[in-house]
């Protein structure tokens, strides 16, 4: 078992005092961010990305792991206590979770969520340890044509399968691709779309775009439109924050089923953990209906346990896909990919050969992060809930200050701050007219991969584009893609027909 030995070495690296401190810092930040309204883990990673550049890569990634998983531990807290989920992946947990809280079982609900997140994440991390090296081995056979196919797959899946309107999704994707071509062309050395400004020679930084679109744009959106809504009231959790043996027995099968449902979605670019959480919730509801005393609607512990486990197992597997294939399945993963690039590392097959210390320390830190998060969340969930009391003006003002801090700290240029504001306004408009933002980020991250793949493949065959569809791997990828598009279109048509019959 080579993996186990490498993992042991990774633990040796990750368990140094300094790295442990970063795991704990990451977990604290991640949980805080997950609990607080207005912050998702993608925004948190985007805000932290610039300020971690002064750290060593291993320390930075270990901290990111903490933030990445911490966001998922915390995001159901708000849903359970206030009936307003903090992230889409927490919507499914809210239905039964909030009902439990209403019955005075808020503390048990928070505990169920934390244990579910722990089990899902832990199982996924174990699988990643064994599967990722194999996946990386497999993807080392990829040439330019295969990487192009992989990028196209991610483009189409994120921009049209997940969103309601394929045109909006594709427009957002192409904007991202367009921003990515600004700067000096890596192949020929020609400056592109820079208007002669040296500020643009290195291109528009992905950090600037992600912070602008995900953080500043969201701040403007909340200030101008969304602020005018009614707030919910919070249930103060009380009672024992642990579960009785009966409750554990009740929740255990749901945790297991949720985990299994979540795992495959980690390697399919289908927009992260929203879909698996709903699938897990639906399955539990169906199973519950067959029991003698259906519990759903009355605060069923299973209806909370399954989606929590599913959400975190998807997130865990997504890290495997990112490390082994360099394929980001969500905006958060795309930002992590950008972080790797900033350190001169390219996730994908070669990462396991070139930087084994970093990869295995990172994988080991997943396990450490899970345990730290369980400790942080199980007994202290009620303390975290106090964060919900921060006034919104201060919260968003703080986010704005952090946006400018991150951007200024990486470049030291006023130009980048102005760029941040400009792109932030575009991001705000896109939010306001309901354009999806994730395709823009994915387009910007994978745009260069697609362009290099396309040009290298075409150059190696003297301009013959049929080389793109000659290898079995790329043919398979395109075939799966066509199948996915076909199924989505069929589903949409069926849904529309149903609507018409209903009306």
């Amino acid at each position: 078992m080579e993996s186990l030995q490498l993992l042991a070495e990774g633990f040796a690296g990750a368990l140094s005092l300094e790295n442990l401190v970063w795991v704990v810092v990451g977990c604290l930040l991640g949980t805080a961010v997950g609990v607080m309204p207005g912050l998702g883990s993608s925004m948190a990673v985007a805000l932290l990305l610039p300020v971690t550049f002064s750290l060593e890569p291993t320390a930075a990634f270990i901290m990111f792991a903490g933030v990445y998983f911490g966001g998922l531990f915390g995001d159901s807290t708000m849903g359970i206590l206030m009936n307003t989920p903090g992230q889409a992946s927490a919507i499914a947990s809210t239905f039964e979770g909030h009902k439990m809280a209403k019955q005075g079982r808020a503390a048990q609900a928070l505990a169920t969520a934390a244990i579910g997140a722990f089990i899902g994440g832990f199982v996924a991390s174990v699988l990643v340890v064994f599967l990722a090296p194999a996946l990386a081995d497999f993807s080392s056979q990829f040439g330019p044509a295969e990487f192009f196919a992989l990028a196209v797959f991610a483009f189409v899946a994120t921009s049209s399968v997940v969103t309601d309107s394929p045109v909006k999704g594709l427009a957002s994707l192409f904007l991202g691709l367009g921003i990515a071509v600004i700067g000096i062309d890596g192949v020929s050395g020609a400056p592109r779309f820079t208007m002669g400004s040296p500020n643009l020679f290195a291109g528009v930084s992905l950090v600037t775009v992600t912070v602008a679109v995900l953080a500043l744009g969201e701040v403007i959106y909340v200030a101008c439109l969304e602020r005018h809504r009614e707030g919910g009231t919070m249930i103060r959790p009380s009672g024992r924050p642990w579960l009785s043996r009966k409750e554990l027995r009740e929740a255990a099968p749901a945790w297991a089923r949720g985990t299994v449902i979540g795992l495959p979605f980690g390697i399919v670019p289908a927009g992260g953990s929203e879909i698996p959480t709903f699938l897990a919730y639906g399955l539990e509801k169906k199973l519950d209906g067959r029991r003698k005393k259906p519990m759903f609607g009355k605060g069923a512990i299973r209806g909370l346990a399954a989606p929590e486990a599913a959400g975190n197992s998807t997130t865990g597997m997504a890290m495997g896909a990112l490390l082994a294939l360099g394929l980001p399945i969500s905006a958060t993963a795309a930002i992590m990919l950008a972080a790797f690039r900033q350190y001169g590392l390219q996730p994908g097959p070669l990462l396991f050969e070139r930087a084994p210390d970093l990869v295995w320390a990172l994988l080991a830190s997943f396990f450490i992060a899970m345990i730290v998060l369980l400790i942080l969340n199980l007994p202290f969930a009620m303390l975290w809930a106090k964060l919900l009391l921060i006034p919104r003006p201060y919260l968003y003002a703080g986010i704005t200050v952090l946006c400018t801090l991150g951007i200024y700290a990486t470049s030291g240029e006023v130009f980048d701050l102005l760029l941040l504001l400009g792109i932030g306004i575009v991001g705000f408009i896109m939010r306001a007219v309901d354009f999806p933002l994730a395709p823009l980020i994915i387009g910007m991250v994978l745009g260069p991969v697609a362009e290099t793949g396309l040009r290298d493949a075409a150059m190696s065959s003297n301009g013959d584009f049929s080389i793109l569809v000659q290898s079995p791997i790329s043919i398979t990828l395109y075939a799966v893609l066509l199948l996915v598009i076909g199924l989505t279109a069929w589903n949409r048509i069926a849904a529309r027909r149903k609507e018409r019959v209903g009306a």
């Binding site: 989920p85 992230q87 919507i91 192409f174 602020r227 006034p391 007219v433 354009f435």
Partner: protein, 197 residues
């Protein structure tokens, strides 16, 4: 599910679902859905000009630096046209399914659709303060600049206690200065307080 294209953005899932702009039917209702196609077309034109004026080093092999941007440009123009067509179509057919939409939303989640206008005062506070902050940062320094930025954004969010908000803002800006400039070694401008540090 969440009924929004940005399921991970928190405002997409918290509380009511807000639609930008007024109800359809009037000419002004056509403006919001046309902003994005216009912007996309402008960006595509920027790419087109860039492609036409690009200086290409000699001896560049066939799929050169213009090839991929040209595909993007074509796509952007196409999507801009498609978006205009769908916007005009939606505007011509008044949305009579608005209420039906509300009903289904309410059963599946806590979201309620509501039409709101744009709060230009908040917009001016937030955007204006970031702009002024960016332009004056080098002169007034991080601690003062960030505190003022904090104060203005809080004001834009309806904060009515100017002194409390200034105290919190100064605390945040000083703490970030200590943590990131002194602790992590990022360089933030010290500005007018520079003599003291």
């Amino acid at each position: 599910m969440s009924g929004s294209n940005n399921p991970t953005a928190v405002s997409a899932v918290v509380g009511e679902r807000l639609l930008f702009g007024r109800r359809s039917g009037r000419l002004s209702a056509l403006i919001p859905p046309l902003i994005m196609p216009l912007f996309i077309a402008v960006f595509a034109t920027y790419l087109a000009v860039g492609i036409a004026t690009m200086e290409i080093p000699e001896g560049t092999a066939f799929p050169g630096p213009q090839f991929f941007p040209a595909i993007i440009m074509g796509g952007l123009y196409l999507f801009a046209v498609l978006l205009v067509i769908s916007a005009v179509r939606e505007w011509r057919a008044p949305a009579e399914d608005d209420d039906a939409d509300d009903a289904t939303e309410a059963t599946t989640s806590t979201l309620v659709t509501r039409h709101v206008g744009m709060d230009w005062v908040s917009f001016a506070w937030v955007v204006g303060s970031v702009l002024v902050f960016a332009l004056t940062l080098h002169y007034i320094g991080w601690v003062v600049g960030a505190a003022l930025l904090f104060w203005c954004v809080a004001r834009g969010f309806g904060e009515r206690r100017p002194v409390a908000s200034l105290v919190v803002g100064l605390t945040v800006s000083s703490l970030t200065y200590i943590a990131f400039d002194m602790g992590l070694g990022l360089s933030l401008p010290s500005g007018i307080l520079g003599g003291g540090f």
